[in-house]
Point group: C2
Chain length 320, copies 2
Amino acid sequence: MVPANQWIKIKAPATVANMVCGFDILGFAVNNPYDEMEMRWMERNSNEPSITIINIDTYQLPTDPEKNVAGAALYALLEEYEALKNGNAKIKFEIKINKLIKPGSGVGSSAASSAGAVVGANYLLGNIFSKDDLVRFAMNGEKIASGVKHADNIAPCIFGGVTLVRSIFPLEIVALPSPQLHVTIVHPQIEVRTSDARSILRQQVQLKDAIKQWGNIAGLVAGLMKSDYDLIGRSLEDVIIEPVRSILIPGFDELKLRCKQAGALGGGISGSGPSIFMLSKTKDIAEAVEKEMNQLYESIGLPHHTYVTTINQAGVEITE
Amino acid sequence: MVPANQWIKIKAPATVANMVCGFDILGFAVNNPYDEMEMRWMERNSNEPSITIINIDTYQLPTDPEKNVAGAALYALLEEYEALKNGNAKIKFEIKINKLIKPGSGVGSSAASSAGAVVGANYLLGNIFSKDDLVRFAMNGEKIASGVKHADNIAPCIFGGVTLVRSIFPLEIVALPSPQLHVTIVHPQIEVRTSDARSILRQQVQLKDAIKQWGNIAGLVAGLMKSDYDLIGRSLEDVIIEPVRSILIPGFDELKLRCKQAGALGGGISGSGPSIFMLSKTKDIAEAVEKEMNQLYESIGLPHHTYVTTINQAGVEITE
């Protein structure tokens, strides 16, 4: 257990959920962007709040811990911690959040806060919880952010690498090995609300489309585990979600086409968008892909950010 | 190229399609039962038939090569062979089929004939076609048998082991590594026509069920490739096809329950049934599972056969 009052520093990576064909089940972490946090624990008197949140960025996210995703995740952890200690351990957390992952960009900004907070808290308390427990706690943050307890950003944020959420109830995360992959992300500065991106989906799908989709999912998992880049590329196809959601993202089809012509293995919408990601075999290709993204969005005058990065294998890290 | 008139012997394994959650995409070959064939090639005069089929079993399957699955597969191969030779190679095949896999049992009887025939023909001709080509030819046999050009039995029969049909058009087969698995199969002596088993399926599925299914497919592929038996077992769950098709098979739910209680990892309907398969970690468990199957079907007075076998890694073999 880290001594009371001693600050630790935390680095929580951005994540790409869905991974094209793996809607709600696949995701991976990236090395850039990431959130930074500082955190400490102290003993708590019975009339004190158990969580204090200090935002040191400019996004003006709620500091009321019941409305803040990190707060909701920490409450879930604290409740279980105090139950484990039979109510004899009254503690409180202070957390400073420097959000470098823009909220609403579709690369797991809320997941980074939730996951970073519970991994940090667990470290302070002597790592008493498993990674599966931490995912479970952090999912309470996702519920605040999007109304749904989903784990497809939380899981890769905590485990690092590529993760499969085989089942939500009961929760089962499977870490999937992957070869070196370079990731290019573009964030067009438009707003796509996760709840809107969910509500436009059809609740029924054609069996023949579902079969195509599970062929691609199986192909993607096999490709990652065999380090077969071409198989990964061919499997990055989504016949169910992308055709519906991509209409919310300006220039999507053209962008995807140009990125693949520039050598990308494939890619698609990151989470529920608006960010788009592409996977490439080399850094040079990932940079050529970034150039295509910049050119396209400059030509239509859409403000945007890009990142060229790699898959993050570590997940949330305690850096100090 | 094998000299003209010289007979070769062929062994073509039974196969289990779907593998519970992988409807139309996954399948594996088993070491028992299997079909035996003999085959030779000869030069052909222009007025002679190019394929002669001799059945040496008692099933009275058609010997007209246009109506016989092996014949249809061989026609497809011959057409491409003669085109490759610019029409200068006129040859004919004679094939004797000893069917040991009962037609209609749901363990790839038609696939074994089609796949065995084209692998044999390819061997006679000096192995000029790839395995992917052979799958393509053999699918013509499946079209005769069930009306649909599916590859989920053909692929494991030709490749051996566990296979993924990532895509049918264009055809892409991915061989999946798997750990040692013991297989118990029970064939209750009832008739389930593949076309009936297809027609009762709903053409639309709930998105939430599709998501569960692709979690399990990804889990099964990862479990096979990681040799994680528990993950394989947990992933052998089908929320879409089995609930509909299992009503065609007497005692299905009870049988599955008892087999799992006896230690099976999991299992389900083989192909479109009526056979049921179970996977186990050891031979002892596979035999205990067989005992449960026998007891249940004896108690309800249903004639049946059982097999205790293992996954066949070789696919169709030339034995002489």
